[in-house]
């Protein structure tokens, strides 16, 4: 049994396919590329592979990761070439390496994500004003996100309202900075907690920014690009495949 860890990108029209669709694209690509993938046991055998984290529909990414288990060892370059040859435009494996089968899963090591988020402003703003607004935002000790929890039990006789869950998202924001502003186009860079300890989406940060700051923006126009996924290694946050 062999395990390959790979980094890939998701761009162009392919950003509109969901995580489940992506799983199917990979499964079928493996078959077409004749990759000797391992299958699970049982009535419905499926290829053994695991992703680091799901990417939202509509989000571009430079840094997605997947572990794939093989029955036979094959040359890494051959693996990359064969898969890329059958992948749709927009999905591309950038690098791969063999890992020990005992190695922690991608999901377990993932700690943070870095995003670029583009949004259209309603009116042009000065750079200094935006920086000031962002630092005010980040100075809040608490930024409360209210989430309605849909009730699982659909009992029509109970007229209770859906429960509301309040989360402080401030501790999940590691960094929030101005990347660029040109005319009405604002680009922010953010480093957010991701993975098993917590998960903050850039959309949520944008919604809170719109609500709590004086930066007037069109939330409809938000476009997100994931730049990196990071793990913690010797006190440093580094790219997931770093040795």
């Amino acid at each position: 049994m062999y395990k390959i860890r790979s980094r890939f990108t998701k761009k162009g029209d392919l950003i509109f396919i969901s995580h489940l669709d992506l799983v199917r694209v990979f499964e079928r690509a493996m078959r077409r590329a004749n990759i000797p993938i391992s299958y699970s046991q049982g009535f419905n055998p499926h290829p053994i592979m695991a992703f680091a984290t799901a990417l939202g529909v509509g989000v571009t990414s430079e840094a997605e990761y997947i572990d794939i288990q093989l029955d036979e060892k094959i040359e890494l370059n051959d693996f990359i070439d064969r898969i890329n040859a059958v992948m749709p435009d927009g999905l591309k494996i950038i690098k791969s390496k063999y890992i020990e089968s005992t190695e922690d899963s991608l999901m377990a090591i993932l700690k943070r994500s870095i995003y670029l988020v583009k949004v259209n402003l309603i009116s042009e703003l000065k750079e200094e004003f935006i920086i000031e607004q962002l630092s005010k935002f980040i100075d809040n000790e608490e930024i409360i996100e209210i989430k309605e929890k849909k009730k699982k039990n659909k009992d029509r006789y109970k007229r209770e309202r859906n429960k509301v869950q309040e989360t402080n998202i401030r501790p999940l924001i590691n960094e929030l900075m101005l990347f660029s502003v040109q005319g009405k186009e604002l680009i922010l860079k953010m480093n957010l907690v991701t993975g098993s300890v917590g998960n903050l989406k850039p959309e949520t940060v944008m919604r809170k920014l719109e609500e709590l700051t004086e930066i007037p923006m069109l939330l409809d126009s938000v476009r997100i690009n994931r730049l990196e996924l990071l793990k913690e290694q010797k006190g440093q946050f580094v790219e997931l495949m770093e040795e």
């Binding site: 509109f16 669709d21 499964e27 493996m30 009535f43 055998p45 529909v57 749709p88």
Partner: protein, 612 residues
């Protein structure tokens, strides 16, 4: 033509991957002035349309032709339509993202009567005039085909061209004729006159329909010298030689039938009297083992699919089934490719095969006795017995199944409450058999699902003259069954009788229904086959506005000598045969399987020649 900008609205709609158009094996061609543009439209959402084998075949067939570019179009979901209308984006071909109003042909496949409003809505969204008579020289030709095209009369006024029968040869012939016209200074009518004499082509505008005072058809007469008196369907003689795609579109999103569909034969020799497919697709023509073996290899390697389904009207009747299934298992088990066999019959149910298939993937079990009593099963010529069912179920439970689905129809001709009680008895018998099965062997948690759809008489069947049960009759039959089937382990589902009524109206409708459809579009009717969109009272208002009585079409008994709206169309089975079958139904007499004994339906005269 310019490419429409849809990127920004894709962020706002559900399942945007429906609208990308760049799926695996999709075709993208260079377009120049010689390119014939064909929009293959499926009047339902992507997940339904992409599951349709006919679309996969014709899409790749048309694209295999030089200078023809066929693109797909599905009904946009309600949210997408809203965004498109808001942003003035007309309906477009998925591959090129160009408006279909600028195409040469806009083709619709007619699979289901309740999709007719979607066709009109798509024309409207496509900015194409609804009525054929209102289309100008620069508008595309609207062409329809598929099973409902055998009685296209309710939508005839919206169509320029109707194609009767199997399309693989016919479509290519029409494209060839059109290539001679394209880029010349021709009139629409000249092209239509040119193709009107091709077998299988029906130009509705070339025929007049006259009605008498009671609203019954008096005559259907050609009004153009190029239009034949009698229209005959097209048929493919040799299924091994006919085009079949070696690669099929593989969607990103999960669709209804998400697998390789391998057609093993066309037609059905059983002769069930309620079944339109069994009549209109005659005669039986099989694909040979070697051809199927070749296609399987190509299709699986070009798609990466993990499942293959053997498709036909009655797959257990395929003469090489055993050999084929064993081949699939032997050659593809290592790749974990599952095999699914839809449409198995109770009487030749091959459990050995099913067991083989289980080695790879577990499938559910569905049986379709169709009617509850032997008497009624004989009336419809279903030809299966209670023993067939109990034997099959015994074996199934013995092999570890615990969940069985039983399909029935209610509202069949001559049906009484006794026949309905037969449904109850069959279901209870199945429960009994389960408890008699060895506890060690049977699966846990028995679940018997009984589904009852409402019978809708269809053109070109022996029941085409029969009245459909009225709403009240169906309701009371459904209530009867709900009461009778109250039992632990039995789930009873039944179909909404209102949609069946509407289906019945349009199945046997005539040209006067086109104004009803146009009015229904105005009233906002669409996606009528979807429970959440279907609005019965709105439909009844539309009928009233148009002064059309649905009862006249659905619930009226026709005389044998009445001129039916589809009288000018010949599908091969003769009227005499259908009358004979209807009389035999009333007497409860069976008709043999055509392979045992020719029943003289007429399809071997003129269509295929000699024996079937």
């Amino acid at each position: 033509m310019s490419k429409l900008e849809i990127h920004d609205i894709l962020y706002k709609v559900e399942k945007p991957a429906r609208y990308l158009g760049n799926e695996l094996n999709s075709v993208h061609k260079q377009i120049d002035e010689k390119t014939v543009r064909f929009a293959f439209c499926f009047p339902d959402i992507y997940e339904i349309g992409m599951s349709h084998l006919g679309m996969q075949i014709l899409y790749h067939l048309l694209n295999s032709q030089e200078n023809v570019f066929c693109e797909r179009v599905f009904s946009p979901a309600v949210d997408m339509e809203e965004e498109m209308r808001k942003n003035n984006i007309p309906l477009f071909g998925l591959e090129s993202r160009e408006a279909i109003k600028n195409f040469d042909f806009v083709g619709f496949t007619l699979q289901y009567e309740l999709s007719y409003t979607n066709i009109l809505n798509m024309l409207d969204l496509g900015e194409i005039p609804l009525f054929s008579k209102d289309r100008g020289e620069n508008d595309p030709f609207v062409v329809v085909g598929g099973p409902c095209a055998y009685n296209p009369e309710p939508i005839a006024d919206f169509c320029d061209i109707v194609l009767l029968g199997e399309g693989e040869e016919l479509l290519v012939e029409i494209m060839e004729v059109y290539k001679q016209f394209k880029n010349t200074d021709y009139k629409r009518v000249e092209f239509l006159e040119k193709i009107a004499s091709i077998q299988g082509v029906y130009i509705p505008a070339f025929y007049d329909v006259r009605y008498n005072e009671e609203g019954i058809i008096e005559a259907i007469t050609p009004n153009n010298p190029n239009a034949p008196q009698k229209l005959t369907k097209r048929i493919i003689q040799n299924l091994d030689e006919v085009f079949y795609p070696e690669e099929i579109l593989v969607p990103y999103i999960n669709i209804v039938h998400d697998r390789v569909m391998l057609e093993v034969f066309r037609g059905c020799s059983r002769g069930c009297r309620f079944c339109q497919a069994g009549m209109i697709y005659r005669p039986v023509r099989e694909k040979g083992f070697d051809r199927l073996k070749y296609l399987t290899e190509k299709l699986l390697s070009n798609t990466g699919y993990e499942e293959i389904s053997l498709s036909s009207l009655s797959t257990s009747d395929y003469s090489n089934l055993d050999k084929l299934v064993r081949h699939l298992i032997d050659d593809y088990e290592k790749d974990k490719v599952g095999v699914s066999l839809p449409s198995l019959r109770l009487d030749n149910f091959t459990f050995e095969l099913i067991q083989e298939i289980q080695k790879v993937r577990k499938t559910g079990l569905t049986f379709a006795p169709e009617a509850g009593s032997q008497r009624l099963r004989d009336v419809i010529n279903k030809g299966v017995t209670e023993e067939d069912l109990t034997n099959a179920v015994e074996k199934a439970f013995d092999l570890g199944w615990s969940s069985v689905k039983l399909y029935f129809m209610i509202g069949l001709p001559t049906e009484t409450l006794d026949d309905l009680d037969g449904i109850k008895e069959l279901a209870f018998d199945v429960v009994g058999i389960y408890y008699q099965t060895d506890k060690e062997k049977r699966g846990k948690g028995l679940n018997v699902t009984v589904s009852a759809s409402t019978f809708v008489p269809k053109p070109f069947t022996p029941f085409q003259w029969e009245p459909q049960d009225g709403l009240e009759e169906i309701y009371s039959k459904q209530r009867h069954l709900v009461e009778k089937l109250k039992r632990k382990n039995i789930t009873f589902n039944y179909h909404d009788a209102k949609t069946s009524l509407l289906e019945g109206v349009f199945a046997r409708g005539d040209r006067r229904l086109s104004k009803v459809l146009a009015e229904a579009l105005k009233a906002g009717c669409k996606f009528d086959g979807w429970n959440e969109h279907f609005n019965f009272s709105r439909w009844m208002e539309v009928f009233q506005t148009c002064d059309v009585d649905p009862v006249f079409y659905a619930n009226r008994r026709r005389e044998y000598d009445e001129i039916l709206p589809w009288e000018h169309i010949d599908v091969g089975v003769t009227k005499q045969f259908l009358i004979r079958e209807n009389e035999k139904a009333k007497a409860g007499e069976l008709t043999q399987d055509c392979r045992t004994d020719c029943s003289g339906c007429g399809v071997n005269h003129g269509f295929i020649g000699g024996i079937c």
